[in-house]
Every structure is written in C-alpha cells, then in structure tokens.
C-alpha cells in the first residue's frame, strides 16, 4: 500500500515466541500454540495448514485480538497486539468458521450493521454495502433473510462482512470447510480477487488443495509448532521430489531393471515395491525420457509408467510420520 521507493516494507504480521496455554479441566495445561515465530509480508496469501487441533485457529484468534496470548508478542498491520488493539481492529477483517450472520436479518442488514460498527455514517455505509454487494454479485439475494441462503451464498456474505472496512489484512478461518466443490472454487476466486486488489490474506485450512491452489506461502503446523514453512512448491521439493513408478511382469524383471539405474546420477532414491520399481527424482519431466532409454536397454522393458508429483500430504507425512487426511478425519 505505502511502498515508497527505498523504504523497507514492514511485515503485515510479525510474531515472536507467540504462545497460548489453556487450562484443561483436570488434565493440567494444554499448550495450543508453542512459541511461534512468524513473519508474513504485505500482499501475501499466507496459509496455516495442519490437522484439527494443531493450533491453527488458536494462532489466528490471537492475531485478530479474540484471544490474549499467554506469552510472546506480535505486531499485526503494524500495530502491537495488546497495546494498539483499536487501530489493529480497524485495519483487519475476520471471517470465522461460523461466519456469524444474523439469520433472520437480510444479507444487506447484516452488512449495514458491520459497516456502521466501523464508524461509517449511514450514507457512507449504504454506499459501501451497495458497492460490495454488486462487486461480489450478491444483488439477487441481498434483500432476502440469511436463513434462505445456501452454504455457498452465505459464505460469500461472510466474506463481504469481513471486507466492509476495506482491511489491509483479512483473516479467514477454514474458509471453505463444508462447502461443495463449486462454492469452494467461488470462494477461492473471490479471495484471489481480493488479494489482487491489495488485501493481504491469512488463512487456516486443513485442505491440501486449498493451500496449494491459493497460498503464496504455507506454514505446516503440528502440535502447536510450525514444522515447515515455504511456498507450496518449495515444501514439496523438500520431500524427495517427483516419483516415477515403473511396472513389470515379475520380481526378477524388477530386480534386473533396478540394477540398470542403480548408479544413475538422476536417481535420488529407489525402492522396489512388489513388481514395481519406484524412483524418486528431482524433476520427473526431465528424468523420464533418460530413464526410459536406460531401462529400455534391459531384456525386459517396463510395461507401465506413472509420474506422480509430491503433494503437501507427502510433506506432512515426511515431517510428522502421519497423514494429514487421516488426522483430519479422526479429529
């Protein structure tokens, strides 16, 4: 926003040892967030990815002043979390998991209340809300009560309420949980549009595809700590790269094929799985032709080939030994 030449841009979020400990009845203390240091830059779509109970939501609630940290400090939109709460709240937007629409009021009435609470005059609020309703293509539903909305429509209104004050930073807690795929991509589209318009986004999700599709950087959170941080591509590169799987007719054929590529510089790691040979390489696209040529010189060329990119789930498995999908389902 104020990127004057030469000036170093302050991060939109900066935390130092941010910690939250809850008193759990009869079970001592639960450390939901354990000393997280994090820097998020202006203009990013930053995602906290992790299973339910990892501490994502607690982290977010501290950053948007809903929870007081037990320890550590943070600045958000340049304001101290504790000392400068009022200015902080004016410059952020927040969309919680439940949204918080008053269901017997219309979408427009909900947005008007929100706008008036940001100290707009009635005329100013009406103008802002009209513009927002038009921009998010909500005109057809704006004057119906919120209990008539579909989950997807309600979610877009939630989003609208979160940006009534044109915040510099928008917090989204699990923005697409429980939505059908079509509504989900609609939400993604609007979030991207907001980001293109200059709003920084901080979101939590336990959907890998969401982090992958939407986020410029992702922090993987597990048990109250960040276990990995980077762009989705960087994180995926941390695991052993792409996986090529060559299928054979017999175990003897696999063993013979494995010997052929044993010393190849392209091969990071190889593993025999039944009658399949799995080879990890940095770049599957580049390695595949060369490996095909090499394996073709043996007495039994491969019958099938499969190229798989690593997913953020692979990263999670590598870092924690558990799969994210399984964790989320049992939680």
């Amino acid at each position: 926003m104020e990127s004057s030449a030469g000036a170093v841009q302050a991060p939109i979020i900066q935390t130092e040892r941010l910690t939250k400990t809850f008193d759990a009845k009869g079970r001592g203390k639960v450390e939901a967030v354990r000393g997280i240091d994090l820097t998020v830059n202006e203009g990013e779509i930053f995602g906290l990815l992790g299973p339910n109970g990892a501490g994502k939501t607690t982290m977010m609630r501290m950053l948007c002043t809903l929870l007081v940290p037990t320890d550590g400090r943070a600045t958000v939109v340049g304001c101290d979390l504790i000392a400068d709460q009022a200015a902080l709240r004016r410059n952020i937007g927040y969309v919680g998991q439940k949204g918080g629409m008053e269901v017997v009021a219309t979408g427009r009435e909900n947005l008007m209340l929100q706008a008036l609470l940001y100290r707009m005059s009635r005329a100013e609020a009406a103008r802002t809300v009209d513009a927002l309703i038009e921009r998010l293509k909500l005109t057809a539903f704006a004057d119906r009560t919120a209990d008539t909305y579909s989950g997807g429509q309600r979610r877009i209104f939630d989003l609208a309420a979160g940006v009534v004050n044109a915040p510099r930073l928008l917090f989204l807690d699990e923005p697409t949980t429980g939505l059908d795929p079509q509504s989900r991509s609609r939400v993604w589209e609007e979030v991207s549009n907001l980001n293109s318009g200059g709003t920084s986004i901080f979101l939590t999700t336990h959907y890998l595809e969401e982090a992958d599709a939407l986020c410029s950087r992702v922090a993987i959170v597990d048990r109250g700590q960040i276990v990995a941080l980077g762009t989705p591509a960087e994180l995926k590169r941390q695991v052993a790269g792409d996986r090529l799987t060559f299928g054979y007719d017999s175990e003897a054929d696999v063993a013979a094929a494995a010997a052929l590529v044993d010393d190849d510089a392209l091969v990071l790691e190889q593993r025999i799985d039944g009658t399949a040979l799995q080879i990890y390489v940095h770049s599957g696209d580049d390695a595949l032709p060369e490996l095909m040529r090499r394996l073709g010189t043996g007495h039994a060329p491969p019958k099938t080939v499969h190229l798989a990119r690593p997913t953020l789930d692979d990263v999670f498995i590598k870092l924690t030994g558990r799969t994210l999908a399984a964790e989320s389902e049992t939680a």
Binding site: L66, Y94, V104, A105, L116
Partner: protein, 250 residues
C-alpha cells in the same frame, strides 16, 4: 454509545422478526392472570389477605414475575449468538466490549417495557384499577430489575456456554425466588421460617413495591426499599456482565 444503540436496534429487529422470545416471558404471566387470579378471588376474604379484590393484589406481582421469566432467560439468546459466531464477528470490529454489553441490556429493557405494557393492558381487562403515576414509577423499577436479571443471565450464558446447564441453573433459582416473593399468595400466610427467608429474596421487596405503586400508595416505604435493593444488585451484576464480556473467549 452509538454502538450500543446499533446493537440494541439490531437485536430488536431480530426479536421482531422472530418474536418467540417476546412471548416466551409473557405467556406464563398471562396464563396466571387467566387461570390463577380467579382462584385467588376465593381466598380474598380470608383474614390476612391484603386486598379486597384479588386482581389488585395479583396483577402488580405479575409484572415482576414477567421480569423473572423474560429478562431471566435472555442468556439463551446470547448463547445462540456465541454459537452462530455473531458475537465473535462483532468482537473483531472496533466496537467496545462496554457498548456490546450495553447494547444487549438496552434491548432487554426495551423488550421488558413492551411486555409490561401488554400485561398492564390485559390486567385492565380483568378489572385492575391502577394509579397512573405509580405505574410509571413501576416501569422504572421493572427496568432496573430487568437489568439485574438480564445481567445475571447473560453472565451465566457466557460462563456456561451450554444451553442445558444454563437452563438447569435458571430454572432452579427462578422458582424459589418466585414463590418467596409472595407473588402467588401473601407471605403472611406462611410459617415464620418462610416469612424470614422471604426477606432474603430481593423480589419480595419488588413485589411489595409493585403493589404499593399500582394501588397508589406512593408514600409506602417499600418503594424506596425496592429501588435501593435493586440499584445495588443491578450495579453489581451489570459490572460482572461487562467484565465477562471483556474476558469472554467468544
């Protein structure tokens, strides 16, 4: 204070669109008025019964009963707002916790005045003769009591977070408070123990004052007594509510 007004207005809009809560409190007193007040006529000649006409005795107490059943259950609406994420949404805007708390209190007071006017109108149909100035002062007292009941209920709602627990606590306390207040029958009918305990029930003073006010006994000492009791109690409970609103992890 504009914020408190905005919240109250929004809450009133919600109440009007979904008037269940508007009538939740008022239904019980009306049933009492229709079914119980005529029974009282039968005992109004018993020695010790304070009024010749049962309605003059019973109707003022009904207005106090309504405060218990109406403001005393306000916490449930607040719990809905925690559940829906509405309160959370507001708490991230620049609105102060104080304004938020006052907004809910204002809404509850407005609802209470509206309900009281309906009850007075119904009682007039049943032959109540009321002192207009006294009734106006009574409305002030009702608002004051309502602030206390709503504050208690709101605070419990934020503390318990669960409708079942809140309902349990509320129902457990409301019934003895109601009986000991002397709304139904004169406390003078009871044994000395009950008479003594009833003096610990703040609603005992409220009901006495309400009777004095409706019947035009404006110099009765019960009136300043009731205002004093509830000024103190309302101030304490309102402070508690504002504090829990500040701390609430909603």
């Amino acid at each position: 204070m504009r914020d408190a007004y905005l919240i109250a207005k929004n809450e009133l809009l919600v109440t009007v669109r979904n008037p269940y809560w508007l009538f939740h409190g008022i239904v019980q007193p009306i049933i009492y008025l229709v079914l119980f007040a005529p029974l009282l006529n039968g005992v109004s000649h018993v020695p010790g019964f304070p009024a010749k006409n049962a309605i003059q005795f019973f109707a003022p107490g009904l207005l106090i009963m309504n405060v218990l059943f109406s403001a005393g259950f306000e916490g449930f609406t607040l719990q809905d707002k925690v559940e829906s994420g509405f309160l959370e949404r507001l708490r991230v805007t620049p609105i102060s916790r104080l304004a938020l708390a006052w907004g809910f209190i204002l809404q509850s007071s407005a609802t209470l005045i509206f309900q009281s006017l309906i009850l007075i109108a119904c009682s007039l149909l049943f032959g109540l003769r009321l002192d207009v100035l006294g009734a106006a002062i009574l409305l002030l007292l009702i608002v004051l009591i309502g602030v206390m009941m709503a504050s208690v209920s709101f605070t419990l709602a934020l503390m318990t977070r669960e409708g079942g627990i809140l309902a349990g606590i509320t129902n457990t306390f409301i019934l003895p408070l109601l009986i000991l207040s002397g709304v139904m029958l004169p406390i003078g009918f009871g044994p000395p123990v009950i008479q003594t305990i009833s003096h610990l029930d703040p609603f005992f003073y409220a009901v006495n004052a309400a009777r004095a006010l409706v019947n035009g006994l404006l110099t009765s000492v019960s009136i300043p007594e009731a205002f004093a009791v509830f000024a103190v109690l309302s101030a304490i409970t309102l402070a508690l509510f504002i504090r829990s609103m500040r701390e609430a992890v909603a």
